[in-house]
Amino acid sequence: MTTSPLDDAAGDWLHGLARAGFVSGTRAAARERLRALLTELVAAALADTFDPDRGARVGRLLVAQGMFAPRFAGVTMRVLAERMPLLLDGDSRAVARVPELLGQVASGFAGAEREAALNAAESLSRSEKLTWHRAQLDLQTRLQHALLHESVTDLPNRARLRAYLRELIETAGPDRRLGVCLLWIEEFTDLTKALGHDAGDALLSAVGVRLAATAERGGYFLAHLGDQRFVLVVPDPSGADDVVKAAEQAGRALAQSFDLAGYAPTITTKAGLVEGLMQPGGEARADAGGWLRDASVALGWARADDTAYAVFQTERADRDLYRHRLTAAMPAALERGEFTAHFQPLYRLADHSIAGFEALARWHRANGVLSPVEFIPVAERTGLIARLGRYMLEQSCAQAAAWHRQGHRLVVSVNLSPRQLTDRGLVASVAAVLDRTGLPPEHLQLEITENAALDDHRDILRELAAVGAYLAIDDFGTGYSSLALLPQLPIRGVKLAAEFLRALDHRDIRSTTVLRHTIAFCRDLGITVTGEGIETAAQEQRLRDLGCHLGQGFLFARPDTAAAATRMLPA
């Protein structure tokens, strides 16, 4: 095969380039391209009018064809300087032009290579910035998602829920209603303790999936507030029933057992429900937080009452709130001496002489005086009853001792709450108060409500009796104690439940019969019987006829201050 000098030169050039770096495409194609460039250079050298820029163009084309490795410039110069003169048919003018032509090739190559490198650098820099920008946007998106979603279930979290509710409320028309169902998984804490946090998370995740299906079907908005609390928002309910329905659907969805790493736990839910007008700008639940707070309050009721759900009611919540305020105020009130003992006389029905007084606590607040029914339950729930009880005992005994010193042989009757009966220090503090005040023990009567399941407190009752105090059962006939229990306990008195008085008023023959026998039974045992809450002369008459010893009630006197009580006593 014969080849032209031009082909030879192109082959030589390609060989050199391929040794120096990467040449893309087939070698045949590359050689063709190089041959074309060589032809152009030869033509430029031989042209009548010399245009050195044609060399620069060849240099630029080399780069454009991807042959821009720096070593390619050297190879190209070497091969062309060697081969070009041989391709010019001995044309001395053309040969003389070769150095300038090659210089232009080098310039064109270098210029184009520099341009390519700078363009690439710019492009790379832009790519880098774009990539960073995109990564940051992606991060922001994920962060935003993370901020608004609960990590375990990937459901909207509290912040997202609040934003959702806020938007609903702010854009709601005047008649638009809203329902919120706060769900609580009863067994979550126990399961987590037993099976570990991973299992707890797996349970929550599974709960989330089931609730999401419920929400999807019902058109509810579902959120996960963390741990065992989920929320379904019911848009446009026609009434509380629609929210109850949502709670029931959720309960059913979660009733099937879960598959949890070899365990198949079943769970039950409690729900706090709120339903009402959104009333933008209105007073009640003006904001998202209000709806969630009320749902939480209702959930508290469902849990306390052990019902599947509870619907929020303003009246009940107001009562709760009032009690909470009393609870919070009580310790400081005790310190400040806002509690005092009032005294209500106990009359002997036989001769209307005063046998003693029942001490009743009063709380003097800035806006009025509170009676025990309002604050004793609070005191019992918080445990403050122990302090309050001791304080009342002290005041009552001190007053009774004063009367005693004035020559009045009176009994003061002080209430003990069931909670106080569990106080190990009770007996000692009663003894200490008696000792400190100098009141003879038989002048102190301790009233214990029958609801206290007296049978459970036999020991402490005996110890109190041993101190010398009299024990009386309050509200007798309503609670747990049976007549059979009476002889077994150191009981010296009973106070008849108000129900008996009502029976008397209604001439209820059967109840009256029970009352007659009860009084007779007590009398036989030497137990003093007191009728409480006597308001009419007829009631007094009936009780006296039945053999009741003592009477107490508005008919005789209301509870009053120690000074007023003293004035009731004979001079």
Partner: protein, 267 residues
């Protein structure tokens, strides 16, 4: 904090050398950073033939693509594509069949962005970010599904990329998963860093260099590479060094045993 969130972006740290950009520089390209160039100079000091191995590998890619396009394969999925500058797949395939479609995939977000800039709005070539270790994510990617028709044969290119996948990541399983999703008549094009007894020490030094990058490299021999191909079956001449695979009749390149290659077909 022990539990870092999984959303710290990877691969956008240009202070760390990156395989795609190093390769670009090795081939004489300009799409690279100083850190990549410095890395390559170090590598060449340890293994002077490294550049020739890279060129042989790139030349094989071009020959394989032209060969398959010549056989009628019109779709190419290039996983671990790097930056499609010199000797890229869409130009090689386009030389034979201007209608050929090429999907580039790379793990490095900057390489992907750079590829996007180079391809512009090329009608038959596109790029996505993807990780060969998760082939389903690549195969099911909407952009891949849009460009490629999996009811027709596809040539999947894993050129100079499987040597970044350790056995712990189950490279054979990855290839099998890819094979399962392709129709009969599809191909796998593979090249791999391979041990060369003549320059074993230099190879190991160079491999150690790659431990500084996010993608450490490992060598596999002919048998190990053959074991990665199922369900593809190598076509002639089998698993060979790069310069021996259907060599360009006009080329007189020196053999580079450090690059083993194969083109394998799914029957």
């Amino acid at each position: 904090m022990t539990d870092l969130p999984g959303w710290v972006p990877e691969g956008v740290d240009v202070t760390v050398p990156n395989a795609a950009r190093i390769y670009d520089y090795a081939l004489g390209g300009v799409h690279n950073f100083a850190v990549d160039r410095e890395f390559w100079h170090q590598t060449e000091k340890l293994m002077p033939d490294a550049g020739l191995v890279g060129q042989a590998n790139r030349a094989f890619l071009g020959r394989a693509v032209r060969h398959l396009a010549g056989l009628g394969v019109r779709q190419f999925l290039d996983i671990g594509s790097g930056i499609p500058t010199l000797g890229n797949v869409h130009e090689a395939a386009g030389e034979v069949d201007p209608g050929a479609r090429v999907m580039y995939v790379d793990i490095d977000p900057i390489a992907v962005q750079q590829s996007r800039a180079i391809l512009g709005d090329h009608p038959r070539a596109s790029v996505i970010r993807g990780d060969l270790r998760h082939p389903d994510e690549i195969l099911n990617h909407p952009e891949v599904q849009r460009l490629l028709d999996f009811s027709e044969p596809v040539a999947v290119l894993t050129v100079a990329v499987l040597h970044f996948i350790p056995d712990a990541d189950d490279p054979a399983g990855i290839v099998r998963r890819i094979g399962e999703s392709l129709v009969s008549g599809s191909y796998l094009v593979l090249s791999h860093f391979a041990p060369d007894e003549q320059q074993r020490a230099a190879q190991e030094d160079a491999a150690r260099m790659y431990e500084q990058t996010p993608t450490p490299v490992l060598m596999r021999d002919r048998a190990q590479i053959a074991a990665l191909l199922d369900p593809f079956v190598p076509v002639e001449p089998g698993v060979v060094i790069a310069s021996d695979w259907h060599p360009d009749p006009d080329a007189d390149d020196l053999p580079q045993p450090s690059a083993l290659v194969a083109v394998a077909r799914k029957s």
